[in-house]
């Protein structure tokens, strides 16, 4: 039982709480309601994209094209708006286009059996390139205020941002699917051993295909939200976001080799990453220097569990040897 508590995801949740407490005590303005609103808005794209990414990494695959899908839908949103479509048409259209981008990934990976890493590096370049073709280096900014205002606004003008509802609803849906349904269990089975899962009757290829479609659709939705938040459709929106997402997911205790991890851990990972960046920014650390922290956390989140397990392995072996002697 004691081992159960010492898992990586519980440790990361505890660490997140600790960081939040220390930061609000030490860093000026960190604990204010204004800063809370900003933090939730910064959290929004990472946390939403991290939900399907968790599923994908649990099955042992990866999707590096998410940020480019976001950029593509943001670009198209501007283009559609310039061509007179109503915002009510544009938003669902952008989500569908994101899903189509996911269909291409899913087809290449499960239909043709290509490695997901290489495919999504390719589509990372492809989708970002298409975003540039659509909008060039221009920007579209005149989106209606009732939409941009909703994304940046708070419930009743208080401290709780409207988008927090979206985060909570989606996180609940994804959490229930992963941890309380046969589909969720099958994802772990696929990640632990795809061949065994196949022989156990799980439709491995079809499941993975739909994960990429969902990942694309969510990236499309985030493209819309990103555009509305900054009231600016640009081809380079969200560039590099895939790193933050993958870092947060791995930091949250999901194994890059698949088969392990939990959604609460991932949520804690996202909060930890965002809170650290927010606190450092309040302390006037430059945005580019923050990348050192993100990059180091990404490497450490895989390195530390490896080191711990190898140390534990050595220790157990020594104990066995001693008891044998």
């Amino acid at each position: 039982m004691s081992r159960k508590f010492a898992t990586w995801d519980t440790a990361i949740i505890a660490l997140t709480v600790l960081v939040l407490i220390i930061a609000s005590l030490v860093v000026d303005n960190f604990g204010t309601s204004r800063n809370f609103t900003f933090m939730v808005l910064d959290l929004l794209p990472i946390i939403l994209v991290a939900l399907p990414m968790t599923f994908i990494i649990v099955t042992g695959e990866i999707d590096l094209s998410v940020a480019s899908t976001l950029g593509l839908t943001s670009s198209l949103m501007g283009w559609f708006w310039n061509h007179g479509l109503s915002i009510e048409t544009i938003i669902p259209l952008c989500i569908v286009i994101g899903a189509v981008a996911g269909v291409l990934n899913g087809f290449l990976i499960t239909g043709l059996g290509l490695p997901s890493l290489a495919v999504t590096i390719g589509t990372l370049a492809l989708y970002r390139g298409l975003a540039l073709v659509v909008l060039g280096d221009g920007a579209v900014a005149d989106f209606p205020f009732n939409y941009t205002g909703w994304v940046t606004g708070t419930i009743g003008g208080g401290a709780v941002p409207n988008v927090l509802i979206l985060i909570v609803v989606l996180a609940l849906i994804f959490g229930v699917i992963l941890h309380a349904t046969p589909v969720g269990r099958s994802l772990y089975a696929i990640g632990a051993n795809a061949q065994a899962a196949h022989f156990a009757g799980i439709r491995v290829a079809r499941t993975k295909f739909w994960l990429y479609v969902v990942s694309g659709a969510v990236a499309g939705l985030v493209g819309v939200l990103w555009t509305l938040r900054y009231s600016s459709a640009r081809a380079d929106n969200g560039a590099g976001l895939e790193l933050a997402v993958v870092a947060a997911v791995l930091l949250g205790g999901v194994s890059i080799f698949g088969g392990k991890g939990s959604l609460p851990g991932v949520l804690a990972g996202v909060v930890l990453l965002t809170a650290l960046q927010n606190a450092l920014r309040l302390e006037d650390v430059s945005g580019q220097a923050l990348n050192i922290v993100t990059g180091a956390l990404l490497v450490l989140s895989v390195l530390l569990p490896n080191l711990i397990s190898s140390i534990r392995g050595n220790w157990q072996r020594r104990k066995l040897r001693q008891s044998a002697a």
């Binding site: 390719g122 390139g129 791995l250 580019q288 180091a296 490497v299």
Partner: protein, 335 residues
Amino acid sequence: MTPAAARPPIKFDILKTRELGIVLALAALVLYTTINNPRFLSGQSVRDNLLNTAILAVMATGQAVVVITRNIDLSVGSVLGISAFAVATVMSDHPGLPMIIAILVGLAVGAAAGLLNGVLVRYGKVPALVVTLGTLYMYRGITYSWAGGSQVNADELPAHFLNFANDNLLGVPWLVLIALLVVGATTWVMRNYRVGRELYAMGSSPPAAELAGIKVARNLLGAFVLSGALAGLAGVLFAARFGTVDASAGTGYELNVVAAVVVGGVAVFGGSGTVWGAGLGALLLTVISSALAVLDINQFWQQAIVGALIVLAIGADRLVAVRIARSLRKRDAHV
């Protein structure tokens, strides 16, 4: 030891190499573009294309070796950045230093960065994707913190350093000579020397390579150090060619480098492909981007084409692999 003579020569049939496809694509592209605009084959245009290829080809060489071992190095663009900034800073502080020192500084900075990648992959047991994605941002962040918004301008750099990019030896620019030397030497070592074949073996089957007694740790560290060092060398060439260096030098280059390697026929599953193929891939990508300009096509298409080429190349690789597997099975059935 005589590397080539003592054992049966490795089969080299030009018609069966995967590089032939790239050569044909390249020829078709050059032909089409030249028909539309004859100046595409003028001396200046060819020279520009070769100079632009040189930096990419040097980086693609290191990447090809890493990919052949079934790993990947996404940090090369950031290593180029940190090396270019380091070299530019050293040369502007000490204008009297000869060019060879600049090159050595770049190689050393890159090799150190590559060594850290290799150690984390081998001894930390962290997948190369995660390590190099992390160090991509770490090395870039370090460069930004170091530069602190400043940049090194061309007028702060000594003349002999800047002239290096334009100087020739018998009409061939130094940059191109260095690229040819790097691609040629690495191709030769990978093809004919023990360590080269060991690297291929590691990529074909990592556990089998370990069981066969190959010094996997040493070779893997070597591959990452080579990739880092060559990205560092590319940083020196970048600084000499463009003169103005800020902390963003080389941002996003990793995509072009991976594209060059994959388009050049190095399989992402490791174990196959050649370094000179990767060099050809670099040339093809560069020619595509200059052809877009000559043909008056929107420059923004370039990145989309790079992406589409990566996807097409790995798709084609897969097709070839499936066909080879089928023909091998058929041959076995006859025996």
